[in-house]
C-alpha cells in the first residue's frame, strides 16, 4: 500500500492555459468550420468592443487567405484605439486577463479568454506566433509576434519591431495562421457571422475578403456612436448571500451601511432605514413558534405592512431595531454569513427601483430597424427594446427584439440570435431565444405557418453577465426572467406585425371588394331568374345598384385602414 506522502509527491498546479489547451472545444474550437468562425469572432469582437469603449465609429476588415489544404491566414484590422505596448502580452497571451470580467460591465467579450484562445489555437495548429500590428495613434507603430507559454499562462513576444507612424495611423491589425480549419459559406461560417454582426451593429463598417479574393461590404447604416458602457453596481433584488458576503470582505467602506449604499445600486440612506425595519421584522417573525402565525406574518410583510408588524410587537420591536441599527454601523468585514443571509432575505420583501440602465448598451430600436432594413430589405420592420430587468444574482439584463417581414425575405423563418450584439451561430436548439420564439402562438398574430413565413426575428440579450449554457458561448441558458422578457418583447413586435398585416389585408380587401361582389352578380341573377321567373337583366340591375350604394358608405372605412397601417410602419 502506497503512503499518502508518496502519492502527493507529484502534486502540481496546472495553468489555466494548459487546461483550456486540453479542452479547446470548451472555447468553441470544435469542428473545422466552427473553429475558423471562432477565431474571426474573437478578433472582431475585440475590435468592436475597443472602438466602442473609445467612442470610435468602427471600421473592421476581415481577410481570409488560403495558404494550403485546411491552412489559412486570418487577418483582422480595425481603426480602434490600439493597444499600449506593455499590455500586448497580456491581451493576447494570458487567459482570464482583461479589462472586463472583473467589472460589472456589458461587453461583447466577457471572460478574458477570447483572443488569447485564438492565439493559442493558431499556435497549437500551425506552430506560428500571432502577428500584431498596433498603434495608439502616437509616434510609433508596434509590430509584435506573440506566443503563449502554456505552462505559465503567459504571453511571450517572440519578436518585436517598432516603426515610425508619420500618418498617425491608429488601430490594430492581427494576423493568425491556423490549420485544421475550413472556409465555407454556410450558416455557421464567417460570411454569415459577419452579416449578423453587421445587422446588430449598424454603426460599424465591416468588410470581408474571401479566400477567392471576393470583397463583400456590409456598409455602415448609422452614424451614431453607441455610448460607451459604464460599470454598473449590482441590484439588490435577487443578489445572493455569497455576493454580499464576499463583497463585504473587500470593500473599502467602513460600515455595513456605507458599504451597501456605495456598492449596490438603488440603495439610499432612506432604503437603509427601510432595510433595518425589514430585518428587524424578519427576526421577530422568525421567533414565533406557531407556524401558521409565522406564515401569516410573512404574508403581511410581503404586502408591505412592515410598520404595522413592528408596531404589534411594541417594545420588543424597538429592541430588535436597535440591534439591527448596530449591525449597520459595524465594519463590513465583520458581517457574518448569517447576517448577509438576513440582508438578502429582507431584499426579497422590499421594493426597489428597476436596475439602472446606463451600464447596459442595447442596439436600440432605431438601430435595429436600420440594421434589418439595410441588410435584409424587408417590407415591414419593427423593433422592441424592453426596459432592463434583473435575473438571479441581481444581474441586470435587457432584451431587444427586431422583426422583419416580407419584401426581399425568403419564405422561411430565420432567427438571428445575439448576446450583447454578438451573433450566436451554434447550439440554437438549447438557446432560450429559440425556446421563447417557438413558444409564441404565432397564429394569433396572423402568421399562419411560422416556418414558411417571410419572417426574420432578431433577438439580442444584453447583460453584464449573459448566462451561457457552456463556455462555447453559443447558447443562452433558460433563465425564467429572461425567457419571459423575450416573450413579452416578441409579442409586442408581433402585435405590430399583426396590425400591419390586418391593415394590409383590409386595404386589399377594400380595393377588391367591389369587384368581388360585382363578379358574382351575373351568376346570382341567372339563378334567381330560374327560381323566380324574373328576367336576368333586371335582377342584375338591382344588385349592381345595391353595390354602388354600399360603396358610398365604405370609402371612409378604407381610409381608416390605411391610417392604421401607416402607424404600424412608423
Amino acid at each position: 500500500m502506497a503512503k499518502a506522502k508518496e502519492l502527493f509527491k507529484e502534486f502540481k498546479i496546472q495553468s489555466v492555459s494548459e487546461f483550456f489547451r486540453r479542452n479547446a472545444a470548451m472555447l468553441g474550437y470544435t469542428g473545422k468550420i466552427r473553429s475558423l468562425t471562432t477565431v474571426v469572432h474573437e478578433a472582431v469582437t475585440n475590435s468592436l468592443d475597443a472602438c466602442e469603449e473609445a467612442g470610435i465609429l468602427p471600421y473592421v476588415r476581415v481577410e481570409i487567405e488560403e495558404l494550403g489544404r485546411e491552412h489559412y491566414k486570418i487577418i483582422v484590422e480595425d481603426n480602434g484605439p490600439g493597444i499600449p505596448e506593455k499590455f500586448i502580452t497580456h491581451v493576447f497571451g494570458k487567459m482570464l486577463a482583461g479589462t472586463k470580467a472583473h467589472r460589472n460591465i456589458q461587453s461583447r467579450g466577457q471572460q478574458g479568454i477570447g483572443i488569447s484562445g485564438a492565439v493559442m489555437f493558431a499556435q497549437i495548429t500551425s506552430g506560428k506566433a500571432t502577428r500584431v500590428i498596433t498603434s495608439t495613434g502616437g509616434d510609433e507603430i508596434i509590430e509584435a509576434w506573440v506566443k503563449i507559454d502554456v505552462e505559465k499562462n503567459e504571453g511571450k513576444i517572440v519578436k518585436k519591431l517598432k516603426h515610425p507612424n508619420p500618418t498617425g495611423w491608429r488601430g490594430t491589425r492581427i494576423e493568425l495562421e491556423v490549420k485544421n480549419v475550413k472556409y465555407v459559406r454556410s450558416k455557421q461560417g464567417v460570411f454569415w457571422y459577419l452579416k449578423l454582426t453587421a445587422i446588430a451593429n449598424p454603426h460599424a463598417h465591416i468588410e470581408l475578403i474571401e479566400p477567392d479574393g471576393k470583397l463583400i461590404v456590409f456598409p455602415r447604416s448609422s452614424e451614431e456612436i453607441p455610448k460607451p458602457p459604464v460599470e454598473m453596481k449590482p441590484h439588490p433584488k435577487g443578489v445572493m448571500t455569497d455576493d454580499i458576503y464576499r463583497m463585504a470582505k473587500k470593500t473599502r467602506k467602513n460600515t455595513v451601511k456605507r458599504f451597501l449604499i456605495s456598492e449596490f445600486s438603488r440603495i439610499s440612506d432612506k432604503k437603509i432605514d427601510e432595510l433595518i425595519k425589514y430585518i428587524a421584522a424578519i427576526r421577530l417573525i422568525n421567533r414565533e413558534e406557531d407556524k401558521r402565525i409565522k406564515d401569516q406574518l410573512f404574508e403581511r410583510l410581503a404586502k408591505g405592512e412592515v410598520d404595522l408588524i413592528l408596531k404589534s410587537y411594541g417594545r420588543r420591536a424597538k429592541k430588535v431595531l436597535k440591534e439591527v441599527q448596530k449591525l449597520m454601523e459595524k465594519p463590513p468585514e465583520k458581517l457574518s454569513w448569517h447576517e448577509a443571509e438576513e440582508i438578502v432575505e429582507a431584499f426579497k420583501y422590499m421594493k426597489f427601483l428597476a436596475p439602472p440602465t446606463h451600464g447596459l448598451r442595447p442596439i436600440g430600436e432605431e438601430n435595429i430597424v436600420k440594421g434589418l432594413t439595410g441588410i435584409l430589405k424587408p417590407e415591414f420592420v419593427t423593433a422592441v427594446t424592453r426596459s432592463p430587468k434583473v435575473y438571479r444574482g441581481g444581474i441586470p439584463f435587457q432584451v431587444e427584439v427586431g422583426l422583419a417581414y416580407g419584401g426581399e425575405l425568403e419564405s422561411t423563418f430565420n432567427l438571428l440570435r445575439y448576446a450583447n450584439r454578438v451573433p450566436l451561430l451554434f447550439d440554437a436548439g438549447a438557446c432560450v431565444t429559440t425556446m421563447a420564439a417557438r413558444s409564441i402562438d404565432w397564429k394569433r398574430y396572423k402568421v399562419e405557418d411560422l416556418d414558411r413565413a417571410p419572417l426574420t426575428l432578431l433577438i439580442n440579450v444584453i447583460s453584464v453577465h449573459v448566462p451561457y449554457t457552456s463556455t462555447g458561448k453559443q447558447s443562452i441558458a433558460n433563465e425564467d426572467e429572461i425567457y419571459e422578457e423575450i416573450r413579452l418583447a416578441i409579442m409586442e413586435a408581433a402585435r405590430r406585425l399583426q396590425t400591419y398585416l390586418s391593415g394590409k389585408h383590409r386595404r386589399l380587401y377594400q380595393v377588391k371588394r367591389k369587384k368581388t361582389l360585382q363578379k358574382y352578380v351575373p351568376e346570382i341573377a341567372r339563378a334567381l331568374s330560374i327560381l323566380t321567373g324574373e328576367p336576368e337583366e333586371k335582377i342584375k340591375e338591382y344588385f349592381l345598384r345595391l353595390i354602388e350604394k354600399k360603396f358610398e358608405n365604405v370609402e371612409e372605412t378604407l381610409e381608416q385602414a390605411v391610417e392604421v397601417e401607416a402607424d404600424a410602419e412608423a
Binding site: 363578379k519 358574382y520 351575373p522 330560374i530 327560381l531 345598384r545 345595391l546 354600399k550
Partner: protein
C-alpha cells in the same frame, strides 16, 4: 310475438311542396334587393352547440340558432351566390323529375365565372355543405330535392314494392335481394307480408339468414346495412316503421361500432340532427350482440380484444374504450340495460362479432339465437 303495428305516418312525398319552398326563397331575396336592402339567408347553425336531445320525441333535434348569410358581406358573398346556384339547380331537377348524385350536382354547377379565373365551385367540399344548408333552411330532405346519396344495403323478405312502373317481391330475387337505391322517397309499399324488420349489420350475416330461410320461417324482412346504414336505408327503415307499422329490430356486432350503427338508426346522428324526424326511428330495439350473449352462449373462445388503451391505463382511454365511454353518455343509452352492457365491455375488454355465432354451428343464429331472443323479447331499448 312481434306483430305489425298501426301505421303512424302516411306516404307523404310531394315534389310540389319542394318547388314552392324554393320559389318562395327566391322571391324573398328578390324583394329585399329591390327595396335596396342587403339580402340574406337565415341558416340554422350546424355543429354540436346547436343540437339537443328531445326527451319527449326521443330524437336528436336541431336548436334554433341561426347564422345569417349576407350578399354584401364579402366573406359571405361567394356562398350566397353558391346557395342560389344550387337552389336553381334543384328546382330544375325536381320539376323535370330527374335525380342527381352529390357529385353530379357539383360538376353540373361548376364553371368558370366569366371574366375571372374563379370557379363557381372549386371542389365538392364546397357544394356538399351548401346542399346541407338548403336542407336545413327549407326543412326538406336532400332526397326530396332529388339529390341522391351513395347507395348501400339491400333488402330480402316477403314484401312487394312499387318503384315507378315496376312491382316486385323482395323475396323472389334469389339470394341477391333488392339493392336499396340512394333515394327511397318515391317507392311505395304494395304488400307487406312480414311481422317485423330485422336490420343486420353485415352482408355475410344477412346472407346466412337468407340461406337458412329465416325470413320465410320467421316472417321477417331482412335489411342488410353493410356497415353504417346509408341514408337510403335509414329512410327506408323509418318509412317501414311509421308508414307500415313494422317493428324494427337491429342486429349488429357487439362492439362500439355496431352499437353506434344501432344508435344512428334509432336516434339519428349529430351531423344530420336536422333530419332526425325523417331519418330516425326511436322505437327500434336491439337484439344483439350483447356482452351477456358471451356468457349465455359460451362464446368466450371467439371474442376479440378491444382496441386501444383502457381508461385506467396511462394514456387511456383511446380507441374502442374511448368510444364506449362516449356511448355511455348518449342520452338514449342512459338506461340500466345499456349501461350494464357497456360497462361489461369495458370490464372484460372484449368485443363479439355476429359471425362468431358460427362457432356453434352455421344454423345456430337462425335456428336458435335469433328466434329465442326475439320470442322472449330479450331486447335492449
Amino acid at each position: 310475438m312481434l306483430k305489425r303495428e298501426r301505421p303512424k305516418e302516411r306516404f307523404g312525398y310531394d315534389p310540389q311542396k319542394v318547388l314552392r319552398k324554393l320559389e318562395e326563397l327566391g322571391r324573398e331575396i328578390l324583394k329585399e334587393v329591390r327595396q335596396g336592402k342587403n339580402p340574406y339567408f337565415d341558416i340554422p347553425t350546424r355543429g354540436l352547440n346547436n343540437v339537443y336531445f328531445d326527451e319527449v320525441k326521443r330524437v336528436i333535434r336541431m336548436g334554433d340558432k341561426l347564422s345569417r348569410r349576407y350578399f354584401l358581406n364579402v366573406a359571405h358573398a361567394r356562398k350566397f351566390m353558391q346557395t342560389l346556384l344550387i337552389a336553381a339547380y334543384v328546382k330544375r331537377l325536381v320539376s323535370e323529375g330527374k335525380h342527381a348524385s352529390l357529385r353530379e350536382a357539383y360538376y353540373a354547377n361548376k364553371h368558370t365565372i366569366p371574366g375571372t379565373k374563379e370557379n363557381t365551385f372549386e371542389d365538392q367540399s364546397e357544394s356538399d355543405p351548401i346542399i346541407e344548408d338548403l336542407e336545413r333552411m327549407l326543412g326538406v330532405l336532400r332526397e326530396e330535392m332529388h339529390l341522391t346519396a351513395d347507395r348501400r344495403g339491400y333488402v330480402y323478405g316477403d314484401i312487394t314494392i312499387r318503384d315507378g312502373e315496376d312491382e316486385f317481391n323482395t323475396s323472389k330475387l334469389g339470394m341477391g335481394g333488392w339493392a336499396v337505391p340512394g333515394t327511397v322517397e318515391h317507392i311505395q309499399f304494395v304488400d307487406i307480408n312480414v311481422d317485423y324488420a330485422l336490420v343486420v349489420e353485415t352482408a355475410a350475416m344477412a346472407d346466412r339468414l337468407i340461406e337458412e330461410k329465416f325470413p320465410k320461417k320467421e316472417r321477417a324482412l331482412i335489411i342488410a346495412t353493410q356497415g353504417q346504414a346509408s341514408r337510403g336505408v335509414r329512410r327506408l327503415i323509418h318509412r317501414l316503421h311509421y308508414e307500415e307499422g313494422l317493428p324494427i329490430i337491429v342486429f349488429t356486432d357487439g362492439d362500439p361500432y355496431g352499437w353506434y350503427i344501432y344508435s344512428t338508426i334509432k336516434q339519428g346522428s349529430i351531423n344530420l340532427a336536422y333530419l332526425s324526424e325523417k331519418l330516425a326511428t326511436p322505437e327500434a330495439k336491439f337484439v344483439g350482440m350483447t356482452m351477456d350473449d358471451i356468457k349465455k352462449y359460451g362464446l368466450e373462445n371467439v371474442t376479440e380484444k378491444l382496441k386501444g388503451i383502457p381508461p385506467n391505463k396511462k394514456g387511456g382511454p383511446t380507441g374502442d374504450y374511448k368510444r364506449i365511454i362516449e356511448e355511455m353518455n348518449y342520452p338514449w343509452f342512459k338506461n340500466k340495460e345499456w349501461q350494464r352492457q357497456l360497462k361489461l365491455a369495458l370490464e372484460w375488454g372484449v368485443r363479439i362479432e355476429q359471425q362468431a355465432l358460427a362457432n356453434k354451428s352455421l344454423e345456430f343464429v337462425a335456428k336458435k339465437y335469433l328466434p329465442e331472443k326475439i320470442a322472449n323479447e330479450e331486447l335492449l331499448p
